[in-house]
């Protein structure tokens, strides 16, 4: 690579880094002020671009369209905080973070419903003709983007050092309790943080969209990159996310330029993983003083009794009996939906333990599903292994991987499991796509139906029974674990990690065990999935699948194993139900409406579960009542 190309690569890194920095700044602002990871930040950026494109196409001059788009995103952020986050007073940090996933889905659905999913071109602010400076080709719009970031930097420096609001935000981030004693209202600061994050996202998206296009599908990717940048740079200072954005983009540009574009994602997320392990506070972040433990700030789930009664056993047993009727009562479509719901149930059962009981938001269960899927695919197709043996080996590999990973990541606190598991998922996705042994992006076709001995599970109905048996097995296994010493210790850790530690609980080993169980369940689900479809490829195990699993967990109830099935049914069958209600017309707006419903459902359920006002909203009232009767769900007064 010559000097010109090198300089061009560096400039390209700067330009992309400016975009990532915009997104990362939004993440950092919200996280510092509220402790929440705002997974909607990428979609707010996308929304800024879409609004600019739509307004520009309607003939609105850009100098009006861009501020309007940024202000609209500011409003979205503020409204979301005021009417969703703020009412959810008793929500844990995990629940609040899941609410932002709901907002992300809601924004995407709204955009598709209103404007479709077609990419839109956005006119550049000052022409398309590139400028040539020292042999570097620069688009004027890239100059606008970098200039806007510099302006934001100056504005941030002024805001955080010269204004009362900025000083209050810093004070609250440094010592929330101390700040509140000084009369600083944390709720007001949360509102400001979400509004500012919306503004940053909207402005960044509006300025960046002429460089690429305005398109609904870029939101998730931008969010992941921004999140990674914030982690790499550190969220505790203003400069951290900017440094992280630039570092990430440079790493991306140089990996693509000098190593391999194919393994770019693996390198980026690998860097995030390394950063988490070696310097969890990020490049420019400040380490917490020794002994300062991360506590979930608003956790209010103090558990009065730690043993489960037989009620949940009854719920599980009854649930199994009820869903067993599906093949008898409904046709092929019902059975197909049921199979996918049961496979998802197996994953969600693991999530109930790790996220519900353990309080750790796991976003990378797809990685363990892939281990199961590819073990089954590779071993049965390439080496002729019996499906049961391949499935068992996949589960074993997943358990070992989870134990190894758990020993490392559970030494960290807060949202580190979310980030680490996400990084592991992205690395696994890249490896599966690029490795010839796993069939590359095409995957491994021709996976035989599941069989045990001479008994081949060929028909849909038979596969349904198999999936049901596996789901029941996972459910009862999880229940046994929850009712054992491990489950009780987990609840103790969830209430107060320091107290549990003081009582002699080995927190890392405890969480690792539960993580291993959830990994085994996910691996089992992955194996079943590919035996049913006949092909193993990376596509179904991405971040979208993780979001669906988290949605199912929320719908079913975080600590209710029997709720895993109800949640999965809703997630799998809701699209069909919405299509049915909308008149069976398969249009884009219906697909958008499905996302709107999913997003709204996630947000509404968490508010209902945690606000103390909407007690009768959310899952069917009767189900909620039954939850109250399970002793573990009760809270201290």
């Amino acid at each position: 690579m010559g000097f010109n190309s090198l300089a061009q690569t560096i400039f390209s890194g700067l330009s992309n880094g400016a975009l990532y920095a915009f997104v990362a700044l939004g993440f950092s602002l919200v996280n510092r002020s509220t402790g929440i990871i705002n997974f909607a930040q990428g979609d707010l950026t996308m929304l800024g671009g879409m609004l600019t494109a739509v307004l520009a196409q309607a003939g609105v001059p850009l100098w009006i369209a861009v501020p309007v788009a940024a202000l609209a995103c500011t409003l979205v952020g503020a409204v979301f905080y005021q009417f969703a986050i703020r009412p959810a007073r008793r929500a844990t940090m995990t629940q609040l973070t899941i609410m932002t996933i709901g907002l992300s889905i809601l924004i995407r659905g709204g955009v598709v419903t209103e404007w479709g999913s077609d990419p839109l071109s956005v006119p550049a602010f000052s022409g398309d003709s590139p400028l040539h400076v020292l042999g570097i080709s620069i688009l004027p719009q890239e100059v606008w983007l970098i200039g806007a970031l510099l302006a934001m930097l100056l504005a941030s420096a002024w805001f955080f050092q010269r204004t009362m609001l900025g000083l209050a935000l810093r004070a609250s981030a440094a010592n929330p309790i101390g700040a509140s004693y000084m009369g600083i209202d944390p709720a007001a600061l949360g509102l400001v943080a979400f509004a500012l994050a919306g503004f940053l996202g909207g402005l960044g998206g509006a300025i960046w969209s002429p460089i690429y296009f305005a398109q609904v599908d870029v939101g998730l990717g931008l969010g992941l990159k921004g999140f990674t940048a914030a982690v790499i740079g550190g969220m505790s200072t203003v400069w951290g996310p900017i440094a992280g954005g630039l570092a990430l983009a440079m790493l991306e540009a140089f990996t693509g330029g000098f190593i391999s574009s194919s393994w770019q994602d693996a390198v980026l997320y690998g860097a995030m993983l390394v950063m988490l392990l070696l310097r969890p506070q990020g490049l420019l972040g400040k380490a917490k003083p020794a002994g300062a433990a991360d506590q979930e700030p608003s956790t209010s789930t103090r558990v009065r009794r730690v043993s489960l009664s037989g009620n949940e056993m009854g719920l599980l047993g009854g649930g199994v009996a009820m869903v067993a009727l599906v093949p008898l009562l409904f046709g092929d479509v019902g059975v197909g939906n049921g199979i996918f719901a049961l496979i998802m149930t197996i994953v969600v059962v693991g999530l109930v333990l790790i996220t519900g009981y353990g309080g750790q938001l796991a976003l990378g269960q797809g990685a363990f599903m892939m281990i199961g899927a590819y073990s089954s695919g590779c071993l049965t197709v390439r080496f002729g292994w019996p499906p049961l043996a391949a499935m068992a080996l996949g589960m074993l590999l997943s358990v070992l991987a989870a134990l190894a990973l758990g020993r490392v990541i559970f030494r960290l606190h807060g949202y580190y499991l979310s980030m680490s598991s996400l990084a592991v998922l992205m690395i696994c996705l890249t490896a599966a796509r690029e490795w010839e042994f796993t069939g590359g992006a095409n995957g491994i076709p021709g996976i035989p139906p599941f069989s045990v001995g001479g008994l081949v599970v060929a028909s849909d109905a038979a596969f349904y029974w198999l999936a049901l048996a596996c789901a029941a097995l996972a459910g009862f296994g999880a229940l046994s674990l929850a009712r054992s010493r491990v489950g009780r210790a987990l609840l103790a850790v969830r209430s107060s990690e320091s107290a549990a530690r003081a009582c002699g609980v080995d927190v890392v080993w405890l969480k690792s065990q539960v993580f291993a169980f959830s990994a085994a369940a996910a691996s089992l689900a992955g194996s079943l999935y590919v035996h049913y479809l006949g092909i193993a490829n990376p596509h179904p195990f991405g971040v979208d699948a993780s979001i669906q699993q988290i949605t199912a967990l929320t719908v079913g109830g975080y600590m209710l194993l029997s709720g895993a099935y109800v949640g999965s049914v809703v997630v799998v069958a809701l699209p069909a139900a919405i299509t049915w209600l909308a008149g069976a017309a398969e249009t884009q707006s219906v697909a958008g409406l499905q996302n709107v419903c999913f997003g709204a459902l996630l947000i509404a359920l968490i508010i209902a579960q945690t606000s103390g006002k909407w007690r009768n909203v959310g899952l069917p009232v009767s189900l909620r009542r039954s939850l109250r009767r399970v002793p573990v769900w009760r809270r201290a007064s």
């Binding site: 690579m1 190309s5 061009q8 690569t9 390209s12 999913s117 077609d118 990419p119 398309d128 080709s137 688009l139 690429y212 296009f213 599908d217 870029v218 540009a253 693509g256 330029g257 574009s261 194919s262 770019q264 009854g314 719920l315 009854g318 649930g319 009820m322 599906v326 009562l329 409904f330 046709g331 092929d332 479509v333 197909g336 939906n337 996918f340 690029e434 992006a441 095409n442 995957g443 076709p445 028909s459 479809l533 006949g534 092909i535 596509h539 179904p540 109800v566 049914v569 809703v570 069909a576 299509t579 049915w580 008149g583 069976a584 884009q588 219906v590 009767s622 189900l623 009542r625 039954s626």
Partner: protein
């Protein structure tokens, strides 16, 4: 304690698992089921398939239907997900009683729905680029779209004609991109032309500067930009121009559409498209008029107030013309799946919109050859080179 909970859960399950309110087709209708992504990253392609299928059904009905039966289309959005594609296939076969399926918009998704189509004994026309969907032969799966073996050679034929000796290829890391790479490497080896760059990018990447810089450094005579999605292909075309790479930019069938034309901006003038010859109003032999193609074009224009816009639109229509030929062979309404399948397997010389179709028991994926050619977009329409 659990009675009320179970009542609620049962009502939920009943309402969600109950058969969808399908518009039960009348028994005398021949239903084509279309499974394509109408949302998600490949929705542009899905919409082309859906519009083409709607025009194809109208065309068949104008031709008198299939053995006296009216033709009906039921579309299901796969959302670009394997799971949803499988559920769509089940719905179309079990509830809508589709007698022929067309789908699913990508090779992995087509492979994923194949077992469901086979189990339901419904012929499936594969709408995807990869050969692995129908090779080796699966009794119920047939090629329906000009695939990668059809769309790669025209670019190399053109390169040979124009004397372009240094070729750069760029594609993504999706199943489609990797399959394209395989055919490109095969063509390069056979033609003896120097492949000066083979660049790959992530399917969801938004910046391809590094790849374009390497292409610039390789100084190619032509760039073959076979992106899966329109935004990626258009972004590469624009980036090539920005980086002063003025070599012709040949794009694949996926990008020969109105969206690319809309997004490519100044790069359009430098772009050569690959697509069906019939879009140019030409027959394969340039001799006799292609009645079906003309009729399809007229029907499409009547329904959509515009000419056939892209290469994917004719795919479902070809599946319908092949089915028409098979039903004509049967000489009676095609209510026996096995008879229909056997008839499809024996159609020969069906003049479709993408080429001439001949299936045999050992070949369900004929190469379309002369049906696919290169063209440019000029003066508001597709023009031959």
């Amino acid at each position: 304690m659990t009675r009320s909970a179970f009542t609620a859960a049962a009502i939920l399950a009943l309402s969600l698992f109950s058969p969808a309110k399908a518009a039960d087709p009348e028994p005398t209708k021949f239903v084509f089921g279309l499974v394509v992504p109408l949302t998600g990253p490949s929705s542009e392609n899905g919409k082309s398939y859906a519009l083409g299928a709607a025009a194809g059904v109208a065309m068949l009905n104008e031709m008198g239907g299939l053995a006296g039966e009216k033709v009906q289309l039921v579309v299901c959005d796969s959302q670009n997900q394997e799971q949803q594609a499988v559920l769509c296939t089940k719905r179309l076969t079990a509830q809508d009683h589709a007698r022929v399926l067309i789908g699913a918009g990508s090779t992995p998704q087509t492979i994923a729905i194949s077992p469901t189509a086979e189990a339901a004994r419904v012929p499936l026309f594969a709408m995807c680029g990869g050969e692995s969907a129908y090779t080796p032969v699966k009794p119920w799966i047939f090629k329906g779209l000009a695939g990668n073996p059809d769309q790669v050679p025209p670019a190399w034929v053109l390169a040979k004609q124009r004397g372009w000796k240094r070729v750069a290829i760029i594609h993504d890391n999706s199943a489609y991109g990797r399959d394209i790479e395989k055919f490109m490497l095969r063509e390069a080896a056979e033609s003896g032309v120097e492949l000066v760059a083979n660049e790959v990018y992530g399917a969801s990447d938004i910046d391809m500067t590094a790849q374009v810089l390497r292409i610039r450094d390789a100084n190619p005579d032509v760039v073959m930009n076979y992106a899966l999605t329109v935004p990626a292909g258009a972004a590469i075309a624009k980036k090539l121009l920005q980086m002063d790479v003025h070599a012709p930019n040949i794009v694949g069938i996926n990008l020969q559409n109105a969206a690319f034309v809309r997004l490519a901006g100044g790069a359009l003038a430098n772009t050569i498209f690959v697509g069906p010859r019939t879009l140019l109003g030409q027959t394969q032999t340039q001799a006799k008029p292609l009645t079906e193609a003309e009729q399809f074009a007229a029907t499409y224009e009547k329904l959509n107030n515009q000419p056939v816009p892209d290469s994917l639109t004719p795919g479902p229509a070809d599946a319908m013309l092949i089915t028409r030929a098979a039903v004509a062979k049967l000489g009676k309404p095609a209510d026996d799946p096995e008879a229909l399948r056997a008839a499809l397997e024996s159609v020969s010389g069906v003049a479709g919109l993408q080429g001439t179709w001949t299936f045999t028991a050992t070949d369900h994926g004929p190469v379309l050859g002369a049906g696919i050619t290169t063209m440019v977009y000029k003066d508001g329409g597709w023009r031959g080179l």
